[in-house]
């Protein structure tokens, strides 16, 4: 039976989600004014979970993760604005057909951008596959710098204005959910998403965070997730286990990038305009810090890390500044963020290098834990060759001795004693346990015992080694 603590632990994500769902009520009634920073923090939570897949699970140090965030944001910029004013494409946009530009419903842009950023993740990841450690970090850093530069200078690509340069893309469509009738739904004003009505944005962010969490946790304990961790631990051993390291890494880049892309779409749509200058190296570092401070490879670590790092950036420091102003002090705490950050990192690395939540291994609970009745057939597992002849179990003499594996002939016991420079009687013969072989019924999930052509047991016609 799981203990109360274990049960609470298992359902902790649901408690957190329930709290997140009612949080706006608390926030509204207390008038904390946290909503705006909170939306930005939640964006970083998504980013941290995405980066955790690449850095935490697969161990690929990526310093250019902001690139995928930018690509996601530009996706919504292209597909939900009047930027391409020469064409008129409307898909479920809820806007008058006469408005020029590409106008897709944001609910379509999310999946499109997820796929597109995944493709970019694979494309940018491919050249780095042979690199490890520092070299990988430098190359990804380069990509993180190149992508925003491409957006910044993309206003004249062969005469086409792709990104509108430093001015960026603005006037993005506000999302629609059920159109004007959506207003009636729940009275939350779903029809009017905007700076004055943050509630829909909040719940959308929570939904995306739940999605990122689901993807992370599902992948973590799957064949692919284990392959990532194996590569992180020892790439050579992983390949000897049959793992196609190149493919597995590309999957990590792709899935990690697509989560970053989702966050980018969300961010772009919420801000309503996109500027290349907002996709700076600093953001990659902040998200990486979130993952490291939280605990690499731990999904909850990434979430909490993002709250710590970005909470500091977007809520605590600005709040401190305004509180200081309220008492007549003119201190801009926000400009101290890098200092505080640096100190935080150093302190973490000194006192808790594994992060707030160290990458914890899955706890499997079996109903037949060792030591319980029904599992006493395997005292040592390995045992001597069968048919060594009868041997009488000897009573164990008191005092320290070497417990010998059952089934060892007397001659061998004497050898063991000699090699340990012990008197022969100090080597203890344990009572023999009934041997139980690996049952023939044990099958691999897909391949039965009969599908291996070299599995002699499957084919009675082939002579089996003398037994």
């Amino acid at each position: 039976m799981p203990t109360v603590r274990e049960r609470l632990g298992r359902h902790a994500p649901l408690f957190v989600l329930a709290f997140a769902l009612i949080f706006p009520l608390i926030e509204g009634s207390l008038g904390l004014g946290m909503m705006n920073p909170l939306l930005r923090i939640l964006t970083s939570v998504m980013l941290a979970m995405g980066l955790n897949i690449v850095v935490g699970f697969a161990g690929l140090l990526d310093l250019g993760y902001v690139a995928f965030w930018a690509i996601g944001a530009y996706c919504v910029g292209w597909m939900a604005s009047g930027h391409f004013s020469t064409i008129k494409v409307h898909v479920m946009s809820g806007l008058p057909e006469a408005i020029p530009g590409i106008h897709l419903s944001i609910w379509l842009i999310f999946p499109i951008a997820a796929v597109l950023t995944a493709v970019f993740g694979v494309l940018l990841g491919a050249p780095t596959l042979r690199l490890r450690g520092d070299y990988l970090a430098i190359v990804t850093l380069g990509f993180g710098e190149i992508i925003p530069k491409v957006f910044q200078n993309g206003d004249d690509i062969g005469g086409h204005n792709l990104t509108n340069g430093t001015a960026g893309i603005s006037g993005l469509d506000a999302p629609q959910l059920g159109g004007a009738t959506g207003d009636a739904m729940l009275g939350l004003g779903w029809g009017t998403w905007g700076p004055l009505n943050l509630l829909p944005w909040y719940y959308l962010a929570i939904a995306l965070c739940v999605l990122c969490y689901y993807v992370s946790v599902t992948m973590q304990w799957s064949k692919l997730g284990r392959a990532w961790m194996a590569i992180r631990e020892d790439e050579t051993a992983a390949s000897a286990m049959g793992i196609h390291c190149v493919n597995a890494k590309l999957w990590a880049y792709g899935i990690g990038a697509s989560l970053g892309g989702l966050a980018g779409v969300y961010h772009g749509a919420r801000i309503g305009s996109i500027f290349p200058s907002s996709f700076q190296f600093y953001i990659s570092i902040a998200v990486l810090c979130a993952v490291i401070i939280g605990g690499m490879g731990n999904v909850w670590g990434a979430i909490v890390g993002a709250f710590v790092v970005e909470g500091l950036n977007f809520w605590l420091l600005p709040s401190l500044t305004s509180w200081a102003a309220a008492v007549g002090l003119d201190i801009d705490f926000s400009s101290w963020n890098m200092l505080i950050f640096g100190v935080l990192l150093v302190v973490m690395m000194l006192y808790r290098p594994q992060g707030i939540f160290p990458s914890k291994s899955r706890k499997l609970v079996f109903d037949d834990e060792p030591g319980r009745p029904g599992d006493q057939h395997y005292p040592g597992g390995m045992h001597g060759p069968d048919g060594d002849g009868p041997h009488t179990p000897m009573p164990s003499p008191p005092g320290p001795g070497i417990p010998a594996t059952p089934g060892i002939p007397a001659q061998e016991l004497a050898d063991v004693a000699a090699s340990h420079r012990l008197a022969p009687e100090r080597v203890v013969q344990q009572p023999a346990a009934p041997a139980r072989p690996l049952p023939a019924s044990v099958r691999f999930p897909r391949y039965g015992a009969g599908s291996n052509p070299f599995d002699r047991r499957a084919d009675p016609d082939i002579e089996v080694a003398p037994a």
Partner: protein, 283 residues
């Protein structure tokens, strides 16, 4: 009980693996020099030789970790010369490492599950949607992993991190991980290194069980001569990258070339260091 030490290499045996004139050069150093080697099905065969003889290098070529310089390599009827390790693993070859290479930050069960990689389907959609097929596969995989850990005798440690196991258990976990892909050949690189005498003794039994119960060939590199002589059905000796002897254990141990390789002269015996009593354990 197979009669250890006398079993001959039968001509009608299925040869799982055939290496012809396999050569590995590192710059000027020829670590493995035109070695012919075959691995019969369901046998225990050993590869021995002094330090630096090229044994591990030979394993690395068989498993694809090294691209051989020259020669031919066939495994399960397929040309595996220069193929990447994951493809060779897929065909049913699995190994342990001389200097243990477990996934230290993963639990024992997860280590074995990684070993099962080639046998799990793990489709992307099935995983993402957590379809019943995926959950079923995971459950069965975990059950099998526990069976294998039981098989090697470390079942009570399933939840521990592999890196926290004592040395002997790490070696056993590596074997369990290697067996998880249900290979036709498992390559063990000095599995007894660092084991105490009981563990070494139990290892011998384990190798027999791998052969007899799992129907898997064991290819063993080992310096512990007593173990090699009692467990092997055939022994191949390398020295300076060359094959200097091959045959039944007692023939090899009395081969003057082998004695010379080990002792530098022919007036000793391979077994001189305390192992001069022929093993009579097996009847």
């Amino acid at each position: 009980m197979s009669d250890i030490g006398t079993a001959q290499h039968h001509a009608q045996d299925t040869e799982l693996l055939v290496a012809r004139e396999l050569t590995m050069r590192f710059g000027g150093l020829t670590a493995v020099d035109a070695v012919d080697f075959t691995v019969p099905a369901q046998r225990i065969v050993s590869l021995i030789g002094p330090n630096g003889a090229g044994k591990t290098t030979f394993f690395n070529m068989l498993t694809g970790l090294y691209h051989p310089t020259e020669g031919q390599l066939t495994f399960m009827g397929q040309d595996t010369f220069g193929r990447p390790p994951h493809q060779i693993a897929q065909l049913g070859m699995s190994r342990t490492f001389q200097n243990i290479r477990l996934f230290r930050e993963m639990t024992c069960v997860d280590n074995v599950l990684v070993g099962m990689h080639t046998k799990l389907r793990g489709g992307f959609l099935a995983t993402m949607l957590r379809l019943p097929s995926h959950r079923h596969e995971e459950r069965e995989g975990i059950e099998l992993a526990r069976e294998l850990m039981r098989f090697v005798g470390i079942h009570e440690r399933h939840a521990e991190l592999a890196g926290n196991l004592p040395y002997g258990d790490q070696r056993r976990l590596e074997i369990a991980r290697a067996l998880a892909s249900r290979p036709s050949v498992v390559l063990l690189d000095e599995p007894a290194a660092g084991m105490n005498p009981q563990e070494t003794y139990a290892l011998e039994g384990l190798m027999h069980r791998i052969r007899d119960e799992l129907g898997c060939t064991v290819l063993l590199i080992e310096h512990e001569m007593k173990l090699v002589m009692s467990v092997s059905e055939r022994v191949t000796v390398l020295n300076f990258g060359r094959k200097i002897a091959e045959g039944a254990p007692q023939d090899v141990r009395n081969d003057p070339a082998v004695i010379e390789a080990y002792l530098g002269s022919s007036d000793g015996a391979v077994v001189a260091d305390g192992y001069d009593q022929p093993t009579e354990a097996a009847s």
